[in-house]
Amino acid sequence: MQNKSNKLPQERNHLSGVEINHKVNLIENGLIDIPMLQLLDEHGKETNPKATPDIAEGLANKILTSMEYTRLLDERMIGSQRQGRISFYLACKGEEAAIVGSAAALSDDDMIMSQYREQGALVFRGYKTEQFMNQMFSNQLDPNKGRQMPIHYGDKALNFMTISSPLGTQIPQASGYAYGQKMAGKEAITICYFGEGAASEGDFHAGLNMAAVLNCPAIFFCRNNGYAISTPTEEQFAGDGIASRGIGYGVRTIRVDGNDVLAVFAATKLAREIALKEACPVLIEAMTYRLAAHSTSDDPSGYRSKDEEAKWQQKDPIERFKKWLDGKKWLNEPALEAYKSNAREEILAALKKAEQVPVNPLEDIIEDVYDTPPWHLKKQLSELQQHVAKYPQHYPKTSGR
């Protein structure tokens, strides 16, 4: 392979390693079929016990509760969006194994750059219910200061980069972040989550290619969940998913069953080891399904059948993992039920509390545009303050403070 050439630069030859043939053949789709790693089948049985990753009971239960919590949070927040308490929500339902399973294979020092459907990773990292709520209610306790829509979490302490809505932008950013970690001598990598839809953006191409060429220790984790809002994968790409692109970039690649926690965990663990050891990127494509609507603004019945949803319901990643835990006698149903009802209450209580907390004071509107506000922002603020003081009733969120 040309990029592996050990020759001196002046002997560089971009043909070295290219074989020659003499027949006019087009390479067709299907030249390679990339298989999907499954370690736990749909009945919760190990497919290849030797390959089952080494997960201790404690970790296994943390994975389970993180998935369960994520789903409870989703349910409750969809409800509160319907009640008009928050403006927007976006659920992880169906993809919990892909997210929690991969997050569990990381170190806490690893940076997570997510798309928006990866709240399970935050849960696993220890983000608290009240933190979720403060973000979603845009209140002044949110360290992101309430400036973005609900679900745009970010937490420096947990190495979870604040989410940004434009799709795909985090992909080359992850390459740069990982490069910086490597240059700073950190024992850490960056994981970058994105959907199969976002992988159509030009930034995907730039990010993967740069990571490969510049030897960035990053994991690119694609959740191929079948849809980008209403757009099915067959209108998104014509190749063999996203995994087949890894080859084109010279990026090591693996496709996993995204509803199988064990496969996701094992693949991510290996990817992390290699990324760190060899300073290189790895692409993981997790085949999964968005059981929920795209977001609370969406109604999937306009573009997919109940039947299809029902089929995927059968592959529920939480149920599958529970069967495995049960087989290992690690599943304590009453304890789990207690955990869940406790979590439900906690969520409700935190929600009620967070919605009472005011938004940031008016002064904050000009903070963080720059490191310190320049003259024009100070001027705009002081005009605004005078204005708000004149019409306090019209700006109830900020006037009384």
């Binding site: 400036r147 809505s165 434009p166 030009g202 209403s230 209108e235 603004s297 705009q380 700006y395």
Partner: protein
């Protein structure tokens, strides 16, 4: 005539143009079977087939690149960018390609048939990335036209003109009033002139200039000002590029005062171009500085959306300040 909201008016214009010219094709993210996230393209795929109304992969630079080529070929692409906030990956294709295509080829080739539709603007709790008003970026691109309707009647007539105009047009739709703005719209085909402002209301003391959803805001401010016996002339610019200097100048010759309102951040917003031109053209007529009531020079902040917005109260105060100057 039929009662339509702004979205229905757009849908009606799309149907009209697709019926009338089979070279017209509509595409973008989720615009196909689903009809777009706002449903502006509802039923088009059903009516005109998948060849003429289709989903694209999720790539704005690709959508506009594809649209440029399609336009150069002679088809009539109407490309949707799902939110104005997501048009920036296509900025290179627009600045360097769409807008320069005709000029660089000496008129041999052009993207004149292209129309780009995109919803824009705030007031919907959308935060940084579902609220921006990026018109000023496009107003600095020679070769582009930029058009913004304020109600269903305009939306249909201006969109039909944009599609048929032999220049690339960025058609920006004020999504805040997509459903709220309802009015009588002819079911038949009609066009409204591009490059012309619309005098919404005549007055004598000050000219208030706005576009899109902000026209309502200045109307509200004008009503407050009328109570103080200030007579406001209200102009809806409609076309941002090229814009109707003549109508604005004529108004300012009469009122001697000008206020411009837009949602986009103040610095470098399109109000600056208007102010710079009008102070030049109407220098001896102006009795007070031209006032700009605009968004703050910050990203669009969710928690402080109300405070950020150049609302009727800020506009009213600026009217009074201008009259008292």
């Amino acid at each position: 005539m039929a009662k339509m909201n702004l979205l229905q008016a757009i849908n009606s214009a799309l149907i009209s143009s697709m019926e009338q010219d089979e070279r017209v094709m509509v595409f973008g993210e989720d615009v196909g079977h689903f009809g777009g996230v706002f449903r502006a393209t509802s039923n088009l795929q059903e009516k005109f087939g998948k060849g003429r109304c289709f989903n694209t992969p999720l790539t704005e630079q690709g959508i506009i690149g594809f649209a440029n080529g399609l336009a150069a070929q002679g088809s009539v692409p109407i490309a949707e960018i799902q939110f104005g906030d997501y048009i920036f990956p296509a900025f290179d294709q627009i600045v360097n390609e769409t807008a320069k295509w005709r000029y660089r080829s000496g008129g041999q080739f052009s993207c004149g048939t292209l129309t780009i539709r995109t919803p824009y603007g705030g007031g919907i709790a959308g935060g940084h990335y579902h609220s921006q008003s990026p018109e000023a970026f496009f107003a600095h691109i020679p070769g582009m036209k930029v058009v913004i309707p304020r109600n269903p009647y305009q939306a249909k007539g201006l969109l039909l003109s944009s599609v048929r105009d032999d220049n690339p047009v960025l058609f920006m739709e004020p999504k805040k009033i997509y459903r709220a703005s309802v009015g009588e719209v002819p079911e038949t085909d009609y066009e409204l002139l591009l490059g012309k402002a619309d005098v919404v209301k005549e007055g004598t003391d000050i000219t208030l200039l706005a576009w899109g959803a902000q026209v309502e805001v200045v109307e509200k401010a004008a009503m407050m000002a009328e109570k103080d016996s200030i007579s406001c002339e209200i102009i809806d610019l409609q076309s941002i590029l090229p814009w109707d200097v003549e109508t604005v100048c004529e108004s300012v010759y009469k009122t001697n005062r000008l206020l411009i309102n837009h949602e986009a951040p103040l610095t470098g917003g399109f109000a600056s171009e208007i102010a710079a031109t009008i102070q030049q053209e109407c220098f001896l007529y102006l009795e007070a500085p031209i006032a700009r009531v605009c968004g703050l020079d910050t990203p669009y902040p969710l928690a402080h959306e109300k405070e950020y917005m150049p609302d009727h109260l800020k506009t009213y105060e600026a009217i009074k300040r201008t009259l008292d100057y």
